[in-house]
Amino acid sequence: MSEVSEAVTLVFFSFLMVAAGYEIKRRQQKLRAVYDVLDVETKHIAAGLEQMVQQGELRPYTGETVA
C-alpha cells in the first residue's frame, strides 16, 4: 500500500514539475515575443526601414500629419 502511495506521489510531483516547466517556458516565450532585441531574423527589417528613410520614403512625424 505504501509503495502505491509513493508511486502516486512521485507521479503527481513529476506532473507538477513538468507543468511548472511548461508554464515558465510559455511565459518566457510570450515575454520575448512582446519585447526583445532585434535578432538575426529581424535585423534586416531595421535595415529595410533605414533604407526607406534614406530614399525619402519615410519622413519624421511632426505631430501634424501621419505619414
Binding site: 511548472a20 515575454l31 526601414l49 528613410v53 525619402g56 519624421p60 512625424y61
Partner: protein, 222 residues
C-alpha cells in the same frame, strides 16, 4: 640661493583637485538622478499586472552625447543640437484593435519622451508590404521598432541593433499603454548606455527568473 619655483606641480595639484571636485559633483548628480528614478518607479502603481521587463528600470549610467551623425536625406534634423540616438518606427497594418488606438493616440508622447528623436510612421501600404515580406509579424503589429544608431557598425552580422515592442500581442488597452510607457521609460533611462541591448537582455533574464519563482509559488499554493 635661488628658490626654485614649481608651477607645474601646483598646476597638477590644482587640476587634480579640480578633477576630483568634478567627479564628486557628477557622482552626486548621478546619485540624485538614480534616487529620483527609484522614487518615481516605486511610487507608480502597477494595476495592470502585465509582465513588462522594463518595469522599475533605473538609470545607472552617465549620459554620453551621441557621436554618430545621421545624414540620410530622409533623416530628421537634430532639434536639440545633437544627432539622434534612436530612430523610432511604427509598423501598423491597420488592425482595428485597442493597442493600435493606444499607440496612435500617443505618437506625440513618444516623441516628447525620446528627446525628439525622429519617429517614422509607416503608412498602411508600407506596413502591409513590410509584413507581407515578413509574415511572422502578422498579428504582432502595431510594432514600435527602435533602431539604435550608436550601435551601428558594432558587433552583429548586419551591424543593425535595436529592439522592438509588439503591442499587437497585448489584448488589454490598459496593459498596452502601461507596456508602452514602461518601454519608453526604459529607453529614456538607458539612452546614455553604451550597450542598451545588454540591459534589455538582463531585464528579460531577470523577469524570466521572477516568472519562474512566481510559477513555483503558484504551484505550491495550488
Amino acid at each position: 640661493m635661488a628658490t626654485r619655483k614649481t608651477p607645474p606641480q601646483k598646476s597638477t595639484a590644482a587640476s587634480l583637485l579640480e578633477d576630483a571636485g568634478k567627479a564628486v559633483a557628477e557622482a552626486a548628480v548621478e546619485t540624485s538622478e538614480m534616487v529620483e528614478a527609484l522614487i518615481a518607479t516605486s511610487l507608480e502603481p502597477d494595476a495592470t499586472g502585465d509582465e513588462s521587463p522594463f518595469e522599475g528600470a533605473t538609470s545607472g549610467f552617465a549620459d554620453s552625447s551621441p557621436d554618430a551623425a545621421v545624414s540620410e536625406p530622409g533623416a530628421a534634423e537634430p532639434e536639440n543640437g545633437h544627432p539622434p540616438r534612436f530612430h523610432f518606427f511604427v509598423i501598423d497594418a491597420g488592425w482595428k484593435t485597442e493597442p493600435s488606438k493606444v499607440l496612435r493616440d500617443n505618437f506625440h508622447m513618444i516623441r516628447l519622451f525620446q528627446n525628439n528623436d525622429p519617429l517614422y510612421i509607416l503608412n498602411r501600404e508600407q506596413s502591409i508590404a513590410l509584413i507581407r515580406a515578413n509574415p511572422d509579424l502578422i498579428g504582432k503589429d502595431p510594432i514600435l521598432l527602435v533602431h539604435d544608431l550608436h550601435a551601428r557598425g558594432g558587433r552583429g552580422e548586419s551591424g543593425y541593433h535595436g529592439f522592438r515592442l509588439c503591442l499587437g500581442l497585448i489584448n488589454n488597452p490598459q496593459q498596452a499603454l502601461a507596456a508602452l510607457q514602461k518601454f519608453l521609460r526604459f529607453v529614456q533611462q538607458h539612452r546614455g548606455s553604451e550597450d542598451i541591448e545588454k540591459h534589455i537582455r538582463d531585464k528579460l533574464h531577470r523577469k524570466g527568473l521572477e516568472n519562474a519563482i512566481e510559477v513555483m509559488r503558484e504551484s505550491i499554493a495550488a
